[in-house]
């Protein structure tokens, strides 16, 4: 395979890993959710890249076109986007409750408070 063929995917992997790093390395609970968002959005790019055909058009049937990009990844990702936003909404409401209960959204401070009781 030529280099250009998968460089595109590799770039997406880099994005994914930045998101993943934010998710597991950052101590701030809100930022973790942001990391999750970036991680998931990058996975979406990966999927959509799979469906692309060079020189094709969006999969809306039209008599002027004959080559369409693959619609199935689009459908899957539409579902995944919705699932993602549902997860972040729930996660953020947990963060709000944690803030009310602990007065902090930093992981290390919360862990310390749990240890001291």
């Amino acid at each position: 395979m030529n280099a250009v063929g998968f460089l595109n995917y590799w770039f997406v992997v880099v994005l994914m890993m930045i998101g993943f790093y934010i998710l597991i390395a950052q101590g701030n609970l809100v930022k973790k959710i942001i990391g999750l968002n970036i991680f998931q959005t990058s996975v979406f790019i990966l999927y959509i890249s799979m469906g692309k055909i060079e020189g094709a058009t969006a999969p809306i049937l039209n008599s002027n076109w004959s080559v369409y990009s693959n619609p199935l990844p689009h459908v899957l990702i539409l579902t995944a986007i919705v699932v993602g936003v549902a997860t972040s909404a729930l996660g953020l409401s947990l963060v709000v409750r944690i803030h009310e209960a602990y007065g902090s959204v930093e992981e290390d401070q919360i862990n310390e408070m749990d240890r001291s009781v």
């Binding site: 609970l29 991680f39 996975v43 990844p73 899957l76 997860t87 602990y102």
Partner: protein
């Protein structure tokens, strides 16, 4: 009507959930939840019988034939897991009335049952589906509702536990999505049966093993296999009792089901165990899980937490059975899915009774409880003995198969280790026995402590009696499990 059973199995609780949210009246919502969970159990039983008699059932959603639309496929294994999930659901919902009323508060009861039913239908959806992406969607339904349910615990640590579970769970789910994407890009299909045909035809490549790795890690995060178990102990320990009882005995089981489904049906036995050497990876991991988690359990002072660690060890036993990659080993694993579900269900429900009276499940507060709550502690002991694997209890049967599987493979040290870790279970259960039966009750602390109400006791004892019944007469469970195991191995070869 009967031909629609596979989809109704999922749809009934799924429809009941918005109804619960609509009525907004705790009691009515509870009644809806009980009715739908019992209907689910009945349907699961019907499906189980059908599958035992005529083999796998397939159902095309939307009327579209298999790879184009989404297919529901129920084989012996799915039918067996359906029984586990619905059985626990049907026992926990009646139990929830008192327990949830006390621990969660009446104002949020209706929504609680909505979330509970969503969790139930999500788990059922994972089990019946034959489509990879559909697995992900229903996985998220069950996980999101589980996060919300766990966060309802009274202790503020329930919130952090739930948050941690959310993060780990979402990472797991995203890994699964990556894995599915890689399978999809190589084959163009999302249907499991279709994938099973297409994957072996592919020329040797580097993508499928990576997809395999991502799916395995993703699912292992969900099922809390050592070393990906960090989220579980706190989540179990601080969730409301009814939630712990339900989630502990179903969610990880369904995750193990997913693992089996991916390894055996999608990738095939040959790929999973010969090319990827899965047995060699899983065997040490499960042994470490069994040993270290049993050890940690011994030193817990919170009984709920102790049982959570013991759950991690039990998951190890199940994975151990799978890693033998033999008919007996697999039967043992699948059998233990069921037995562990009813054992842990009864134990956590007994603890819920204690929680109801004492507001605590700390070992020191439970001193002398054997005299105050003899029936509750009796149920706990039945579950506890079963967990250890005392003869004539359910736990004994699955351990028996497990040891047989180990000996068949010539793994004598493993068989010995199973016996040894059972002794460790004796130690931590004994700590409870000692505290409950051989110490004096502290009257000053809580003087109106009596037996738990009947609404809690009956469901607890129902599961405890099942633990005994399936220890004495195990034909039903073993035949179901061995049929499932045989099916899995045949599909692959």
């Amino acid at each position: 009507m009967m031909s629609h059973l596979p989809v109704l199995q999922v749809i009934v609780p799924l429809l009941a959930a918005p109804l619960c949210a609509l009525v907004r009246h705790g009691r009515t919502a509870w009644a809806i939840a009980v009715a739908s969970s019992w209907v689910s159990l009945w349907m699961a039983w019907k499906i189980f019988q059908l599958v035992q008699a005529d083999g796998a059932i397939s159902y095309n959603l939307g009327g579209w034939p298999a790879p184009i639309g989404i297919e529901y496929k129920i084989d012996a294994l799915s039918a067996f897991v359906l029984i586990i999930v619905t059985l626990v659901g049907a026992v926990v919902t009646p139990y929830a009335l008192k327990s949830v009323g006390r621990e969660v508060g009446t104002s949020r009861e209706a929504l609680f049952y909505a979330a509970f039913l969503l969790c139930l239908s999500g788990l059922l959806g994972i089990v019946v589906t034959g489509d990879m992406f559909n697995v992900f969607v229903f996985l998220e339904i069950s996980s999101l509702s589980a996060y919300a349910l766990i966060a309802l615990g009274r202790d503020r640590r329930a919130l952090t536990a739930s948050y941690q579970y959310l993060i780990m769970g979402s990472v797991g789910a995203t890994f699964i999505v990556i894995g599915i994407g890689m399978l999809y890009v190589m084959t163009g299909s999302l249907n499991m049966a279709d994938l099973a045909i297409l994957l072996p035809e592919l020329p040797s490549n580097r993508t499928i093993p990576v997809a395999f790795a991502f799916l395995s890690v993703g699912v292992c995060l969900k099922l809390a296999l050592f070393p990906l178990h960090m989220w579980l102990p706190n989540a179990y320990a601080y969730a409301p009792s009814a939630v712990t009882a339900f989630i502990a005995s179903t969610a990880t089981k369904v995750a193990i089901y997913m693992l089996l489904r991916f390894f055996f049906t999608v990738f095939g036995v040959h790929f999973s165990f010969s090319e990827m050497q899965l047995g060699i990876i899983l065997l040490p991991l499960s042994l470490i899980a069994i040993f270290s988690m049993s050890l940690v359990a011994i030193f817990q002072t919170n009984v709920k937490r102790m049982l959570a660690y013991s759950s991690l060890a039990q998951i190890g036993y199940i994975i151990l059975g799978i890693s033998f990659f033999s008919n007996t080993g697999l039967t043992a694993g699948i059998l233990h899915l069921f037995n562990h579900a009813i054992i842990k269900g009864s134990l956590f429900m007994a603890l819920g009774c204690v929680m109801y009276r004492l507001n605590s499940v700390e070992l020191e507060n439970m001193r002398g409880l054997g005299k105050k709550m003899p029936l509750t502690m009796g149920a706990f002991m039945v579950g506890g003995f079963s967990l250890i694997g005392v003869p004539f209890t359910a736990g004994f049967v699955s351990k028996w198969y497990l040891i047989q599987g180990a000996i068949e493979k010539g793994l004598w040290p493993v068989a010995l280790l199973i016996l040894m870790t059972s002794l460790m279970a004796v130690v931590y259960i004994w700590r409870v026995v000692e505290s409950v039966y051989f110490s004096e009750f502290d009257e000053s602390q809580n003087d109106d402590c009596t037996e738990a109400p009947l609404g809690l006791l009956l469901p607890t004892w129902a599961l405890a009696l099942l633990c005994l019944y399936f220890g004495i007469n195990a034909t039903l469970t073993t035949s179901g499990a061995s049929l499932a195991a045989a099916n899995l191995l045949r599909i692959g070869s």
